[in-house]
Symmetry: C2
Subunit: 127 residues, 2 copies
């Protein structure tokens, strides 16, 4: 997830009540591209196979064409690859994140940083 100093920015694309793209899905697409299977990509990100599969399923249901295709047969270790649409979506999402990061580094953030502590004070008892 992009960071600008102390600022964390999260961009999520919705499709109805589902999420079509976000930081976790973008990282997973990149890992599938690198690792060549959903299970290996999940492992690389410390994600269960079930979780990785659910994220892929959500991505494949929320865009006009699937973002990931799996090779038939071979169970959970079968190969998977990012489709051309998947590459387009990933590139546009990373562009959007970069644009958000660029625009965040302005005067409003500078005002916030002047008032922000480097480390929190200890919690008070009470209430």
């Amino acid at each position: 997830m992009p960071l600008v100093g102390p600022l964390k920015i999260k961009a999520q694309l919705r499709c109805g009540s589902d999420f079509a793209m976000g930081p976790g899905k973008a990282d997973l697409l990149e890992a599938i591209d690198r690792e060549g299977s959903i299970s290996a990509a999940g492992r690389a990100l410390g994600m269960s196979y079930r979780r990785a599969w659910l994220l892929v399923d959500e991505m494949n249901r929320t865009w006009k064409r699937p973002l990931v295709e799996t090779v038939a047969g071979g169970g959970k270790d079968r190969g998977a690859h990012v489709t051309e649409t998947g590459r387009q979506v990933l590139a546009a999402y990373r562009d959007l994140e970069a644009r958000l990061v660029e625009s965040a580094g302005g005067e409003a953030l500078a005002r916030l940083q002047r008032l922000l502590l480097d480390e929190p004070r200890p919690s008070q008892k009470g209430a």
Copy 2:
């Protein structure tokens, strides 16, 4: 949380491992300003008193000066108000959000919207 069409943008400010400001804390500050107490603000947002109090405590420990001051005595229904620093932080955070929203509505988002479905397809069985 700001929305630009299907895009949801979340800006969070960290202080060490704590969060100093984000969408929930900004809404809570506004509600305290309107309602005049932490408990009434929590109720207005459908948040437990404990949760509201913890968010206020976190805000009051992560900025150079407290963002919320409570009136002594009266238990959980005692009054609270947003400090001058609280107003400055809130205004700068809302400016930052507005800037992110403004910058998001560009060409990368248009590319994503062209590929995005309006509603997800039904889930497939299997995996």
